[in-house]
Symmetry: C2
Subunit: 420 residues, 2 copies
């Protein structure tokens, strides 16, 4: 049993390109069948490992696996389930190792954000302690773009492109209507703590398309008076204004503009509804007619308008994860390293998991204009290449022909069930 | 002065393809320079005619006009401004004729929905009364798809495609998350009185993609108990559920699920926010975690995912309008006539404006399933061809390279100003 199998799981909120990473992992593993066994995927993420509910990806055709590259969402199911510290959640970590042992799994590929990088790190630490060798490699994924070290996170470029395109399109619409109707359009975007996605709305305006955009970042405490003055100025100058508001925008007292009150499994506040709050504020104070949109899942699922750069990076990092594993690396994460801005060049680098786990990367202050409502040239230079290129999925009857895998279960080997 | 100029204006809410109709009008007029003079566009719709604020489209290059075909929104500005009855608004109609006379305009192309078809009809009637001949041709446009006679309305196919694609993508997303997180996703779509757009959400599910979708139509009085039972059933069967709710969905007492209270210039209630109402209802009664989106302007501005069929029809009807005018027709509207479903065939027909004005086309009852929450095969056969084909705009730096016209004003000839 020298040849070990691999385990792959998707974690947290899915993206338009997380399956492209899965595609990179599985296709690369298949290319190295002499060194790596089967790739088992966790059904619904890490829960699939804990409950020994594994999916045998070898049952999928090459065509089906290739189709993952253009299929959004998590093909094996994801989950919001955070393993806590080694002491607190020791039984869960031990169960993981037990399942891995039972299925001769020597590689752990975990595709997620900061929380899962931490889980990945702990799995590799515990495997050392328990004397069962597991190479744990984290494949970065998060639309929030808030992981450290990597220049950007797969999933972000596509949501950025969606928001930039949508902001431009809606702005064109409002500009046409502004004379007698809507003057202010508000679009709410994702990004709990970091304003990367909101910043992408700023790309809608460029040297050939001068569009009045006001951005509300989570990094900038909301100043109602300054905001309304800004909107008024834009409307008086351009006739209309588009507001891009991050769901994470906060009042000076730290409360979210629209906090729903509930929290998810990771303890994060569940947000939504900042757009109507902002729109009503504009109407009440300035009297402008408004429209508002909340893109929500549409933005992160929008594979139809994915960034080609993003798709390529998502795939490349999945591929690199397997290659790193085959080189014997452990406790690492393949990362995007930017080589040059213009023309954009990048390569795959490697980050140590201890440097990645539980660290959030915020927008640098010099990416936000002094007034706090726009993006700087520095920010633009950073963002622009990430939305570049189109990578359309195939269509059938007018709709993207996304793949649904068979997801055949691997026979269980352990006697005990495990409750999560 | 035998050769008359033409006037073209955009009316009401703009769409992803109304400029494709403008492109059809202008390009066709340019092809017949021997018979038709310049095309003047109304700046901000009919208001441009009333205030003698005309745009000289002959100042635009052939390339710029061609680019209208792939540019969403109203390139000349639109407006929500309804001319009322001939008696009530006589001064306005007379002013229109006066402006047309001053600029040697003999053709009136009005690109809009039911209200503007009515205005168009009245202009042709008054021009007869006043003895100044105007050929008034209505070019249909409305995402609501509620005009009679024409098989479908330009603008609808693209919004239908956007909603079908987005519903499929978001459903893939929710399916991945449902095990531990979001189980119900609610997307709110446009359509005040007619459920055509909501129906398009149903296309996301087909023989190869079995997706649990519950649709709330304006045509079906909202039955909370039946709705919640339906959602519960879907979640228990599939693990998740997607709800497509029309902004026009009403309680049994006739009140909108989320009425904002304000009304637009046509006296229509301004809506928004049915999605959070529905989502909270699901959470409160069934306890399912939800996410919701309000697509709003994004859906009608989304030229990046326009339906090729829709773009072709929008262009063809603009072209036909000019051809009808040159044949001496008056008080008519070019319409889409469906010749066959499979394979889809259509041709341009002609409708009399008196049969079009102020009539709304609702979803036939046999397009909605008996339970009131889905679409029938009949509906599917009607909708499917309308979203067929992709017609991507050109991109520059990762963003659609939409055109912004110069919009050069025509020198005024009248002494009196006109207040609107």
């Amino acid at each position: 049993m020298a040849k070990k199998n691999a385990f792959y799981a998707q974690s947290g909120g899915v993206t338009a390109v997380i399956n492209a990473s899965a595609c990179g992992v599985i296709e690369t593993a298949r290319k190295h069948k002499d060194k790596m066994g089967k790739v088992y995927a966790g059904r619904n993420g890490i829960i699939g490992a804990l409950t020994e509910d594994l999916i045998d990806t070898s049952k999928e055709s090459a065509k089906a696996i290739a189709a993952l590259r253009y299929t959004p969402s998590g093909a094996f199911g994801s989950c919001r389930f955070k393993l806590k510290g080694l002491e607190e959640s020791r039984a869960q970590y031990e169960r993981l190792i037990e399942v891995f042992k039972a299925h001769n799994i020597g590689y752990f590929f975990y595709n997620g954000g900061g929380d899962s990088a931490d889980t990945c790190l702990k799995v590799s630490q515990l495997s050392e302690t328990l004397g069962y060798p597991i190479q744990a490699i984290h494949v970065p994924k998060t639309v929030d773009n808030d992981l450290p070290i990597t220049d950007c996170c797969p999933g972000f470029g596509s949501v950025a492109k969606y928001i930039a395109v949508s902001t431009r399109e809606a702005s064109f619409d409002v500009a046409s209507m502004a004379k007698t109707s809507t003057k202010v359009f508000v679009i709410e975007v994702m990004g709990r703590h970091a304003g990367w996605i909101a910043a992408a709305g700023g790309l809608a305006s460029d040297e050939t398309h001068d569009i009045p955009i006001v951005i509300l970042f989570p990094e900038v405490k909301f100043d109602q008076e300054k905001f309304l003055a800004k909107v008024k100025d834009k409307v008086e100058t351009f006739g209309y204004c588009t507001v891009v508001v991050s769901e994470g925008t906060k009042w000076p007292d730290g409360k979210f503009l629209a906090e729903a009150g509930s929290r998810d499994a990771f303890g994060h506040a569940q947000l939504g509804g900042a757009a109507p709050v902002v729109a009503n504020m504009v109407k009440d104070s300035l009297g402008y007619k408004y429209h508002w949109a909340v893109a929500d899942y549409l933005q992160r699922a929008a594979r139809h308008i994915a960034s080609k750069t993003d798709v390529e990076q998502a795939y490349a990092l999945g591929q690199a994860a397997v290659e790193l594993a085959l080189k014997g690396r452990n406790s690492v994460m393949p990362a995007v390293t930017r080589v040059a801005d213009k023309p954009y060049k990048w390569k795959v680098g490697v980050a140590e998991l201890k440097d990645v786990a539980n660290k959030e990367k915020f927008m640098p202050r010099n990416f936000i204009t002094k007034d706090g409502f726009g993006i700087t040239e520095k920010c633009r230079a950073y963002l622009a290449p990430l939305i570049k290129g189109e990578d359309y999925p195939p269509y059938k009857n007018g709709l993207p022909d996304y793949v649904k895998l068979k997801n055949v279960a691997v026979a269980k080997k352990l006697k005990e069930e495990f409750k999560v």
